[in-house]
Symmetry: C2
């Protein structure tokens, strides 16, 4: 008998028919003798409808009151799912975030979980109930309703699994696992049977939007066994996300090719090579709430260097404006140039820690196709390059093939 | 400076535009220096939408889970109303029933309020906030979400007013007050400036559906000054519901003519005139959840009597079936006869306590029109008669005129 936390996203509970499907799946696990906690999102479209109502009142709705409104989405789902479980012959009981007591800080719209009181859930499970918990929400110590921000239901699922020391946290989505790359781009892309947390973090942050990054970090921190599955397939084992590299009997060197189409690069030329210069350049950018992705600074020559970074394409104009009008003169840089027709491609794999030659293989593969590399950034388990966006699809395809990702690992 | 509780029903908050209208009205009261608590229902149609979703899952939804789902309707409204108040320049804060701590019993779908913790609201009011409370809902001592049943938002409004010892509880609806009778039937019907609680109870239970009966009882019990107003008119003083007859400077003898079109009468003939017989007849009816309205038993002759009562027309067949097949033989009654083509008309007024001749005037007025009276029942402040339903409109019109209800009281 195992204790399993199952998290269902908005499309998986998008209609009463689909909710009945969730109940059928839970029934299977119950029939096998498992204890099941179900964590659910709002029915698809509902959160946007509620935000829309709020914006009709006020373009910038009050954060506290927005959480009061938006959190009703998941509350409706927990009631309906509990009813569906009962209709399928199970005992079930719903909990809002406040009822569980999922204690968060008071950062409305983007709260962080501080603690979870799991005692009542544990008692209900012992008494044979399926427990249904509202994802995405909690309450602060003053009893205010809070939400964790978009995608926060994944985090709730993992946090509940951690608090209960569940055997597995299953995340049901509309994809059946994590792939070596986007199958829409590369038809030969394969579903990975397992992937390490570190790889998953790199894959997620690089645009493989299967799981919310925070939930993966959370799972890693509390060593929760995480599995991504499709809620639209009866069978299928999805992709297991492991937190110990050694657990894997067979380790592919490279797990996948991630990419990001919306990357824009900015270079500040002729920057005085002195301490504090990075902060002087990026401080004003970050103050304007522009997220910076890759940052590259090469060794300086003659007391001067070039400083490059990438931002989301939508924020390119804003960032350029800040640099040209606030930063350039202030730090005495020669010029600021940028290009928003770029893309980022990354090769990810924990195996590269112990294997040499991955970088050179990547660069050679791209060179053979005549693709110029504009920027390079590396971490322990990934190598990212920025290239002209028009070569993106080609680069992903040839790298996928070069690293044998279309072959089952032996 | 007064403390005013304003309750807005579903149509008054039926769109974001109307919610902005609520904010404008509250702003007026705040500008006059009053403290305001706003109690709101779900946006019109929302409760039915949520119940509909639940019924798609299960025809008889689990009561606890139904309350979890349905209570979200008011929760959305409190958030939106609070935002609208802020947009209109006020400080505002929303409370769900659980957040106020409106403690109820655990009778899901029809819970009763046990106590209200008003301390936080009082603090917020003192700090200049408009407090917005979700009507219709509370929580039981185990932290389960409960609802008070349909129309329960009125009860919440009155209960909050009682707990805060508010100066006035204003109930905003789509009518501008309580009328001497239904204006659709009698165009000369007048809005009453005031009405006593006792009269209101009789008017409400007789079908003047302006206020939920329970809320009026509640107001009477805790001596809350209640006012019914239209949320669609800028001006207008509505109808004040008073709990002390003596407060009225001028007292009309009769306040209004109430009526009920859906009355069906049943008579059990030749009933043995012995103790316990009423219970033996009505016990099985009530066990079948059939609500009984008027009950009449006349003095017996030769150890035998006739027993009559009225039920809602929809439950006529069910009640007849119970009496004919379970009760008649058991108690040894001669026969059971019924008529579902009847209607009830009532003359209501506290003034009749100190005035004689009201009953005879009513009976004479009906007789002059050739309307036969089938049953009569009286209380201290009302006289009800059951008549053939085809005379209903005529009876209401002539009584309205006979008691000078179309004239302003002098």
């Amino acid at each position: 008998m195992a204790l399993i936390v199952q998290k269902y996203g908005g499309t998986s509970v998008g209609s009463t028919e689909r909710i009945k499907g969730v109940a059928r799946r839970v029934a299977k696990y119950k029939a096998q003798g498992h204890q099941v906690v179900v964590v659910v999102s709002a029915m698809s479209g509902e959160t946007n409808r509620l935000i829309g109502l709020a914006k009709e009142i006020l373009e910038q709705p009050d954060p506290r009151e927005l959480d009061v409104v938006v959190s009703t989405g998941e509350q409706v789902t927990i009631g309906l799912v509990s009813m569906a479980l009962m209709a399928a012959g199970m005992k079930a009981k719903s909990y809002t975030g406040a009822q569980v007591k999922i204690l968060t800080d008071s950062a409305f719209n983007k709260a962080r979980i501080l603690s979870i009181d799991e005692e009542n859930i544990r008692t209900d499970l012992a008494n044979g109930y399926v427990v249904v918990v509202a994802g995405f929400q909690g309450m602060d110590e003053d009893g205010n309703i809070t939400t964790l921000g978009r995608g926060g239901s994944d985090t709730t699922g993992v946090a509940i699994a951690a608090a209960l020391r569940a055997d597995e946290c299953q995340i049901y989505t509309d994809v059946d696992g994590v792939y070596t790359t986007d199958p829409r781009l590369v038809p030969e892309a394969r579903r990975l049977k397992s992937i390490t947390f570190e790889e998953m973090l790199e894959m997620a942050s690089l645009g493989s939007k299967v799981l919310q990054i925070r939930s993966v970090e959370f799972a890693g921190k509390y060593k929760v066994k995480l599995r991504v599955l499709s809620s639209f397939e009866e069978e299928g084992e999805g992709t297991l996300i492991t937190f110990e590299e050694d657990n894997k009997m067979e380790q592919a060197i490279i797990s996948g090719i991630a990419f990001n189409r919306d990357e824009a690069k900015i270079t500040v030329r002729g920057v005085p090579d002195r301490p504090g210069i990075a902060y002087q350049i990026l401080g004003p950018v970050s103050d304007a709430n522009v997220d910076v992705d890759m940052i590259i600074q090469n060794v300086g020559v003659d007391g001067s260097t070039d400083f490059s970074f990438t931002v989301h394409r939508n924020e390119f104009a804003k960032a350029m404006d800040i640099l040209k009008n606030q930063v350039q003169k202030h730090i005495g840089a020669r010029e600021v140039i940028g290009d928003d027709k770029t893309a980022k491609v990354s090769v990810v794999g924990v195996g590269m820690r112990s294997h040499v030659g991955i970088a050179s293989k990547m660069f050679r593969t791209l060179a053979e196709e005549g693709i110029n590399i504009q920027m390079i950034s590396t971490s322990e388990i990934k190598i990212s390059v920025v290239i002209d966006e028009k070569y993106l699809e080609l680069a992903v395809r040839v790298l996928h093939k070069a690293f044998d990702l279309d072959q089952e690992a032996v």
